[in-house]
């Protein structure tokens, strides 16, 4: 076992150089099948782990309302489906991803609010959701938010929905934090918590998953209005173009079709398409 310092160092340096260059080149470019036409690509930020909104399917494709809207908008901007690269933008990363130019725009259950508006521009809104509660199907003890005072809530680390409920409606509610919604659903199913709160559009997607069908229901409380917008870099000229695309999507009926197909099976009664630039 001969092991000399010089050769070891050289090998290490070579391996290092190789890996570093390899690192710069990969990322998620494998999603965009290179057709070599060079007509340009567009990168869209979506969620990867929210059924009905944005989900990375087992076969590597993407599904959900946000994905369909993204495809339509990109199509109007002159990009076919093949030239769209989807990137995961987690809630906490969205503003930075736009500011750094990692993505061209973001459709990821991204609610328009004043704090975010200071950092990024929004096109839309394209969807109006409400904060709601998901409870066990056989649980009749929760009919309004104040009922939660004696109950336990589950929330996802980094999300403010549960904290809002606690601050505004039920000060004495217990609060559990989990890494993702599916972990919260496990806790809900096993009666460790009594409700999971976030936007009804997201909750509906989970409730409609095969494994959870019939086990959960939406409480139907409109705790807040969430106007989903399409985030773009501050000052970008994309905003106007995306707004045009969204208007066309509503007027030609594609919007209704996408939403019916996505939320129909879940039995989720979504609000009609909001007017561009009008926040509720």
């Amino acid at each position: 076992m001969k092991f000399r310092k010089a050769s070891a160092a050289a090998a290490a340096a070579a391996a290092l150089a190789l890996t570093v260059t390899a690192c710069g080149g990969d990322g998620s470019t494998d999603d965009s099948a290179g057709d070599g036409s060079g007509t340009g690509k567009i990168t869209v930020g979506i969620k990867f782990d929210q059924p009905g909104i944005g989900l990375k399917e087992p076969d590597g494709s993407f599904s959900g309302m946000d994905v369909e809207v993204a495809k339509y908008v990109a199509g109007e901007l002159g990009y076919d489906e093949k030239s769209i690269t989807f990137k995961e933008t987690k809630s906490a990363d969205r503003e930075t991803a736009l500011q750094n130019g990692d993505v061209d725009f973001i459709i990821a259950s991204y609610s328009i609010n004043d704090e975010r508006k200071q950092k990024v521009d929004f096109a839309g809104p394209y969807f109006l959701a409400h904060q709601d509660l998901l409870v066990r199907a056989d649980d009749t003890s929760i009919s309004e938010a104040t009922d939660l005072n004696t109950k336990n809530l589950c929330s996802v680390t980094g999300s403010t929905s549960a904290q809002n409920v606690k601050n505004d409606f039920a000060k004495d509610a217990g609060l559990v934090n989990r890494g993702g919604y599916s972990e919260c659903l496990g806790a809900l199913q096993n009666k460790v918590v009594d409700a999971l709160t976030t936007d009804d559009s997201i909750l509906a997607g989970y409730a409609a998953q095969d494994q959870y069908k019939g086990k959960f229901k939406l409480a139907g409380l409109n705790l807040s209005n969430e106007n989903y917008g399409i985030g773009v870099k501050k000052g970008s000229d994309l905003t106007a173009k995306i707004n045009e695309a969204l208007e066309k999507m509503v007027s030609d009926g594609s919007w209704q079709k996408v939403m019916d197909e996505t939320f129909g099976p879940a039995g989720y009664e979504f609000e009609p398409a909001p007017k561009i630039g009008e926040l509720k």
Binding site: R4, P58, G60
Partner: protein, 304 residues
Amino acid sequence: MSSVLYDTPGPKARVRNIAYTVVFLALLIAGLWWAIAQLAEKGQLEWALWEPFTRLPAWETYLLPGLANTLKAAALSMVIALPLGALFGIARLSDHAWIRVPAGAVVEFFRAIPVLILMLFAFQFYAMNTGISSEQRPLYAVVTGLVLYNASVLAEIVRAGILSLPTGQTEASKAIGLRKGQMMTLVLLPQAVTAMLPAIVSQLVVIVKDTALGGVMFGFTELLNSRQTLAANYANVIPSFLVVAVIFVLLNFLLTSCASWLERRVRRGKKSSGPLAPTEPGGGLQTAGAVPARGGNSETVSGP
């Protein structure tokens, strides 16, 4: 089966041992049965939750890319930390106080700080001061944290390895007129590296285990983190968790076995005399399958 700690069991002791075995076995089975019954009661053993793991997509889309990222972060960290660690380990042995003291301070400092603190710092540092994309940032943060910590651990391993060499080696190289640099690169390091190889491989286990921290704390898409996306699809939190745990154990078990194999080889090669002689059975109590302590051994406990 006899050991120095107890006599070969006679008839009475044999009966007693059998009694212990039966009681312990009953306890084990009861515990295991409870664990499985609870899982079944909560519907976690339904085939629909496990079935995805028998098909390719779950592996291709989530687990294997996650595992690849785990291995990539671990390999990068080791490759960068090793030369850095060697440098600091040698610097701590320098004749010049102005090299020795700062190197020692740096090493002791980074050994005293949790690797998670280092990762959190690196993550935010890159976000604020560099143009590294949000997608690459978790990898950079994990690797930076692991390099800072493990380079200082490896520095100690290297230093211990060099110090464990017989003084005759140094004296002999001085006698034939080697300069300090030559003595280090031609005589001391090659022997020390061979002796320390098992400890270095063991450290790789620590690194692999630590990568999981980045997945939970800031979204590095390694194995544990990919499990979450997988569970969002198949609604199988517990099954996916168990599968990932088994992958981690198998991977690390492979590395640990590799380390002990290397150690056996190294020890066999050095039978006559040399640095490892003190750890040879020297009249101490040898229990079944015991691995005597080696220079860097205590360090390998350091990570989560």
